[in-house]
Amino acid sequence: MAANKAKRTSAPGWRYILLSLVLVSLPISIIVKVAYLQILPNHEFGVDFLKHQGEIRSVRNIEIPAPRGAILDRYGKPLAISTPVIDIVGNPQKIKSADYRRLSKALNISEKELQDRLTLYKEKSFIYLARHLSDADAEAILDLEVEGLYRETQYKRYYPAGEVTAQLIGITDYQDAGQEGLELAFNAWLKGERGTRKVVQDVKSRVINNLSLVKPSKPGNDLELSIDLRIQYAAYTELKKAVKQHKAQGGSIVILDVLTGEILAMANQPSFNPNNRESLNQMALRNRAITDLIEPGSTVKPFTMLAALESGQYQLESLIDTSPGYLKVEYKTFVDPVNYGELDLRGVLSKSSQVGTTKIALNLDAHEMRDVFSRVGFGEYLGSGFPGESMGMLPSYRDWHPVTQATFAFGYGLSASPLQLARAYGVLANNGLKKDIKLLLDEGETNVSRVFSSDLSKTVNNMLESVVSESGTGKNAMIPHYRVAGKTATLHKVKAGGGYDENKYVSAFAGFSPASNPRVVTVVIIDEPSEGKYFGGLVAAPIFSKVTERALQLLRISPDKQSSSWVNHENLEEQGKSS
């Protein structure tokens, strides 16, 4: 008993061994379990499954935004550029109502407004809360640490020239896609391609780690225009001033480079500020110079003269008797302001005599006359690629009524855009060569075709030059130091119900300079001047003069007219040198 007791008082070894076995089983079970989680493949909830679950939660493909290409003028001056901005997006399901007050204050909207928006979109998980913020402004909001807010980098379009080029360049929509103007026409060229990268994100959707570049982003291509921003500014400024001065509905100016067919300026009124669209007027969006059609009126008379000369029935010296100042053709009477008596062709053109033009037209073959109009590009697609480009209308009849033929000769019954009119005058300026219109720089070979003999063109140009003289209707289009050839027009506007409105006019002037060796064609259209003056020679011609002069100066074209003051000045200089 004593021995037994003594034996039992020593530590019972087998119990210690048993306990040790129990304890050893603990780490073994842990190791086995962890092995299943970390290294043993093909287990239902094993390593592959866990890695996949982890990636589902943390690995994301996120978009890399790509900037849209810039639109530049011919000298690389920016007309539309993209700058990075931050959008604050929110998940309405995650934003807590306790944060509404703080958040609304930071967003600068009322708490109620925020609440209404979040309630309205509570089924959605993505809404824009603030757009186009600077980095600093966006960070100020994100620093609130409100649950459910994220940032997105976007590109905002900015138009440095603002309203000056507004209709030409157009605008983009809220998703940075072209909506109007060249932004729309060349959207595919301009738009950047968003890339994708694979990243690891934390619970707050913040990027922890870049894994790989799935697809690199591609910035959009720049678009270089033939536009000369300096000339564009000059044209727009003068146009805006004139439209205001004459209380007109609107207007357009187109300026072409005669040598290349490039458009140097294309300005429109009314305009808008493309950088702030809150007060955007739909009417101001139209690029009237390309989209709007007018009946060109008297501006087509030089082409009627071309047809007359080409027919061989008339020479420059041919005399037309316009007395008694009116002419009845069938049911319609054509009237001159005064009885001009006998006029040669130059006189018919410079006085813009309706009677004289009608008499000539009625002697010509109507189809041949129409063919002349067609050859200078009326009724023909421009190919500018601009959205909403108008082809104009050049009707063709099997049998021409004399009245139709006569009105056609002075520009009614057909229609053209201001740009088409400019192209037609470009043919005259190029002495019978028709060149394609270009809006983009380096568009490749200019398509040139001869549509008239050089001699005939020169004759008509010579006539057009006398229109812009002290005795002609276009004397206000004269430019100091430069010779000008051109033609005025005063058109009745078409009434809504058909027929012409007796009190609503369009004033126009089309011409080119320097007349001896033309470099620029300018077309000025003023829609509904209502401050008393409405004649093309009084409203449009002065604008032509100012704008064309500025263009010639900017292009550094040598003067071709020796005005007395200029000669005197030079003489004085020479005297100064010699003395």
Binding site: L23, P27, S29, I31, K33, V34, R57, K204
Partner: protein, 385 residues
């Protein structure tokens, strides 16, 4: 160091003999703890307090304090612990009651476990582990001979255990309850009480465990969700599935220190109870083997020390070391088990590694005592020679 120790231990001098086979593994674990807490708490601290170093600073402070307390407990003779074990336990039980008082106890994550003492949050359930083991060792050593034939002296132990359990479950701190029960049963088993008593006790323990689990839907849902966390991955199984993903990402050699994705707020509060999952993600299975191996070695050293004292018939020291060894083993196992989905989720820290000042302090004080006993053993061996 030497002069200090001789001053403190005027009678038992020369106790500067530190057993490196115990101290170095523990120091290694504490170091890993600092690294892992730095790695896993940065994002969470930034998110919660806008101060990434919040927990790193605090943990560093606790490590320094713990090492200081380890130094003191190393220089405290074991008989002092024995002498004061009962008053210490009573004091802790009173505190455990105070924790439950509304307005005084601090509640976090649905458990009321802490009291604020001069800005320091005291987690009484950690401290009661130390005093309970010391008391049980002391009591069983005193009544060992009687217990071999008569189970009656067990009654006070069980009354105290039930009182502690009751208070722990009210908090609730189910994990500490299970851990204390496991430690108590282990000591009793080794103490040599008759097997039939032991089996009856074990049966009672298992029944009461199940009754507790069934009684609370909160505990039941935790227990069931761990069995199939993926079916409830957006609700009760969220934390566990995120921890499991961390393991899966780790594979053989881990994603590298600091490279964990799961700590980026996917796995909330990873630096406390789920630091092992982040460790497994960053160091892989290879790292897990080293870590588990270190714990095994440390616990093996403590238990073999216990074996030495039991054979030397120094029952208090033997039972106490046994209690500390099984406590570390149990707590480590439960924490690793919870992290890897082997066990239902419980708020138990990983000894030496997790953030949680109280756990680290208590573990280090215990380790100081273990080191003292190891030092005593060497001395007695030398004397024996």
């Amino acid at each position: 160091m030497i002069s200090k120790s001789t001053m403190l231990n005027s009678k038992d001098n020369n106790h500067v003999n530190i057993d490196l086979s115990i101290f170095l593994p523990a120091l290694f674990l504490i170091s890993i703890g600092i690294v892992m807490i730095s790695s896993s708490s940065l994002s969470w601290a930034q998110y919660k307090f806008n101060e990434p170093l919040f927990w790193i600073k605090r943990h560093t402070f606790y490590v320094l304090l713990s090492l200081t307390l380890m130094f003191f407990s190393f220089h405290t003779p074991v008989r002092v612990w024995r002498k004061y074990s009962f008053p210490l336990l009573m004091f802790c039980i009173v505190l455990l009651g105070i924790v439950l008082l509304p307005g005084i106890g601090i509640e976090r994550n649905g458990s009321q476990r802490w009291i604020n003492v001069f800005g320091f949050t005291l987690q009484v359930s950690e401290w009661i582990k130390l005093s309970f083991i010391a008391f049980v060792a002391h009591y069983l050593a005193d009544n060992r001979v009687i217990l071999l034939s008569d189970p009656k002296p067990l009654i006070p132990i069980f009354l105290i255990f039930f009182l502690i359990s009751f208070l722990l479950i009210l908090e609730p701190d189910f994990g500490s309850f299970v851990l204390l029960g496991f430690t108590l049963i282990s000591i009793l088993f080794i103490s040599g009480i008759k097997l039939r008593y032991f089996l009856i006790l074990s049966l009672l323990a298992i029944i009461s465990f199940w009754l507790l689990a069934e009684s609370s839907p909160y505990r039941l849902s935790r227990i069931t969700s761990y069995l199939d966390p993926w079916s409830q991955r957006f609700s009760s199984g969220y934390q566990l599935t995120q921890a499991l993903i961390a393991f899966g990402r780790g594979e053989w050699f881990g994603v590298g220190l600091g490279q964990s994705v799961q700590k980026m707020l996917y796995l909330p509060e990873a630096h406390t109870d789920f630091v092992f999952a982040i460790f497994a993600e960053e160091f892989g299975f290879f790292g897990v083997l080293i870590l588990v191996g270190t714990y095994c070695f440390l616990i093996f050293r403590i238990l073999s020390l216990s074996w030495f004292y039991l054979n030397k018939k120094d029952y208090f020291s033997g039972f106490f070391l046994l209690g500390v060894g099984t406590l570390f083993a149990g707590q480590t196992f439960i924490n690793l088990g919870v992290n890897s989905g082997l066990l239902p989720t419980k708020g138990l820290t990983l000894p030496f590694l997790s953030y949680g000042g109280n756990s680290l302090l208590v573990s280090c004080i215990m380790l100081g005592m273990v080191l003292r006993l190891a030092s005593d053993m060497r001395e007695s061996k030398e004397v024996g020679k």
